[in-house]
Symmetry: D2
Subunit: 310 residues, 4 copies
């Protein structure tokens, strides 16, 4: 149950079987930092490659292929007082016939991050929005574990192993579950956003560097097919693919699998339950793989005996 | 400002330029009923065709092509004490490789609708869910106005004119805006659901017959491209198409159009605003045209002078 | 076995249960004309509505729901010496990031149609292509039978009933099979192209008016799910939907159905045969519903006993 | 202009910056072998990992990022007398509602490869097809160059760097052009098919091991965005993505880029030319990334002065 403080000095633009930077055990926590999507640290210095340079990987003792890596996000805070976002909608989120109507100029916007008051304020460009503010809601945009077969996947995209899901639900307090593909799982993390709308439709959130604390566990012999998460209200699953239809298929299929694995449901009851109670989030509709999140409200599961209980 | 009571005797399986059943004026309200998706009325009698038979159309005086029809949903209540739903996930919402794992049996489920307590309770089939309950949240699944060029579109699908959007956000209290394509707009409505999950992934909500009250207005000379809505918290737009990606493009494009029409925003500020604050709902991912809803929280618009104000 | 000469005086912008213009019997042929996609006849006069105004409908005696209408395209010839095409790629066929690079100017191109020599020559705009020529390959862009339930579908789109498939394989010599949804089938036709590339990626072929001759038959009690066709080399099926993936699913599923209906194949052998021998055409990737054509070379079927033979 | 004979002893399941097995120069040829998709060599011995194990990589002297690698496929022949294929259509190529109708049994089929007569004959399973034959048309299913940023991409999928495109047009006689991302390009090849239908809709062609000869060149400073190819009749480009719509967008955009790079065309003339003359092939509709090929018949380019000629 150690707490490790790790100061990264090198960042990867891929998620893969890189040399681990630290070995940690189930129950351990790590306090570390991430740099922003363009490689800038808390001082604004360019210290890593684009895009979405990753801190890690962390080798988790005893995690083996076929297990599930549990990562509790204990704490996420911007560690500088500014962030940036793109300012023009991604051309793939508007009608093709309307792409030519998008703003031609595309300045990068600068936001002031006010941690004391929990808000981000638009400083530039000057628009009719004036000093527009949004609440801080810090999230991890890109994180995951090494994929199988020696693959090294660009942090631009995502897959069964996680990656650049850009889901605004990955905030402090959430527990994330990743399938383990390689010994030690090899957890990577980066690409913090101070806030983001659904879909990341500008191609960025409010990008910034973060202070992060997380805690890991290993569920031996428990298999997941896609990243899963849990917060106070929901179980959720993330499907990563294009088009959105396929991302939704992955997420829905994984939720059915989870309900059958962990709850005393047969297929028919799981189908009815999901059909009447499911909620979906469109996490990102910008990256090479889109992400759809399938959510099951936990309140509907309270009456159901978890599988295996007496 | 009349209140009309209309008792339907005939129902259409298409939305089109049918003979109007009633002529109403801007400001008028109509109290009427809809039958369920399979054509059964409050007594369970089969009185209309499948699918989604429509009450109406209502001819709204002074509504002309190029105008917007405003329809406020005043009141929606199930008018019988039972509903039904399908029980197996639509094969298009799970991975193609998992379709064979869906439950083979597909009984239609029967729900007791308890209006006094505001809940629906699963009565059959018998599953591990037992007497599972969900809160009533009555909605209109299929409604809209006659499309242009003499088209008559099946109530299975949807388009710019509305139709079978199966969005669980179309509840009492919502104001809906439809583009007008033909003189009188010709408003149709039907396909009530006592409750529904996101996406209508079983292919049905809890289908039932409804008592409905709505009020109409006409916005002269105001053009919308797709159905719009408004509730206490949100402006929203509905895009109808396959795949989800295109439905999202339609909805997002329409929201930009709305923000530029009605608020003192230029394109760049509208893009930034939407990028950081947008929310999406997956309304239906079952019908021939899927529906994605693009939502703008109204709290972010409060500081912005509506266009045309002094 | 009559030959009818029909001179149209009215054209529909939808395919639906319109009043028939002529009643014909199985074995009969019709000699008629179609006007171009924008409603212009052989003299260049605007005589019909946009888009794709239809000649017909023709009521085929004895055709009833559940039957198949056979339409042999006997003859198709441009009946004037000019055609036109759009000149800029549809924005949906290039990468969204490249839409802004499409030519901004979008003149309509004028082509000289030289029937004697079987070529079309670009006359304007002046480009580096000079007097560019393509061989004439006249085809029907939009044709089909009335859909069920009283629907009237815009000639912009297509479905199980046919419609605006814009497939360059629908040329003289081809036999087309349509499912029959209403008594008399109600055959419509229009939207001739003098030539067209795959996908109709400009949004038009070389649009012109046509002289047409076709012959009809009815296959009693034989059900098809989607339009089918046959030429000297291929059996083919047309699937109409968005995205291309779904159009391909429809076409492939229909081809399997056809092989099992008409040839002495079980499912496994039909799967292997199709897997090794299938060819696909992308017919149109522009219209609201895209069209993919699934083709089975007839040479691979010659050794196979047709079902029902002794 | 050396001819190298290379006997592979190790095979990679990814395409990436692996240690080169041989350094070759522009103008050099390589005579080598590939093993089949499941890792079996000419003797049927399992000597490599699944899926699609790659021979190579070959380091091409002087190839640098920003250049184009030219690979002429000189010779491709099966080097054993048997191949195999799957026998059930991939569930994603039929309607979701029809997946349950696919054959439940899924034996792997065995084909006899008769090189003398140029045919493959189905030996098992026993079906109504009997001793069904198809002509040999040997092709490379998976080949390409190392992607940027140290990525190592599974041979299950494809991208700008090539990979598992499963296009039956990659046969002997074709010249392929790959963008170069890393010094030496690092060419990999494998996954031979004795024959294949469009789309690889069974999830395999007739998989076998091959004797291969190819010749490389480097085009200094010439940039391509996606794999390109050329045969006697066509220039073609391959777009790799899901859904098919996006694969087609990539391929079409790349063809426009090529026409503007190499021919004396402006954007408008390239659009008109492509619009009337383009052909598309659906190369694969099975792998994680689908492949669409955009083809421009070279006969339409003969009158056009290549850019830069005197």
């Amino acid at each position: 149950m150690a707490i490790h403080r790790f100061h990264p000095t090198h960042y990867y633009p891929t998620i893969g079987s890189h040399e681990p930077v630290l070995r940690i055990a189930g129950g351990d926590s790590v306090i570390t930092t991430t740099i922003d999507a363009w490689g800038q640290d808390l001082h604004g210095n360019q210290v890593g490659p684009r895009p979405n340079p990753q801190t890690g990987p962390f080798y988790v003792e005893d995690a083996e292929p076929g297990d599930t890596l549990v990562m509790h996000i204990d704490h996420l805070t911007p560690n500088r007082d500014n962030g940036f976002c793109k300012t023009v909608l991604a051309p793939n989120v508007v009608d093709p016939e309307s792409v030519a109507d998008l703003p031609g100029e595309a300045p990068v916007a600068d936001w002031h991050i006010d941690r004391a008051n929990g808000i981000a304020t638009l400083r530039s460009p000057e628009t009719r929005l004036g000093a527009f503010t949004v609440p801080l809601a810090p999230m991890l945009g890109c994180f995951g574990v090494a994929p199988e077969d020696g693959q090294a996947i660009s942090t631009a995209t995502s897959g069964e192993f996680g990656g650049n899901m850009d889901y605004r639900g990955f905030v402090a307090g959430v527990t994330v579950y990743f399938p383990v593909f390689v010994p030690g799982a090899l957890l990577h993390l980066g690409d913090g956003h101070a806030a983001q709308g659904d879909g990341e439709i500008l191609g960025t959130g409010i990008e910034t560097s973060l202070d992060v604390q997380f805690t890991v566990h290993v569920l031996k012999g428990k298999q997941a097919g896609w990243p899963r998460g849990e917060n106070a209200e929901y179980l959720f699953t993330a499907g990563n693919a294009r088009p959105l239809d396929q991302a939704l298929q992955h997420a829905t299929t994984e939720m059915v699998r989870w309900l059958l694995q962990d709850y005393a449901l047969d297929a028919l009851s799981a189908n009815i339950l999901l059909g009447q109670c499911v909620e979906y989030d469109i996490a990102n509709v910008f990256d090479p793989a889109y992400t759809v999140v399938c959510k099951m409200p936990k309140r509907h599961l309270t009456g159901l005996t978890p599988r295996g209980s007496a």
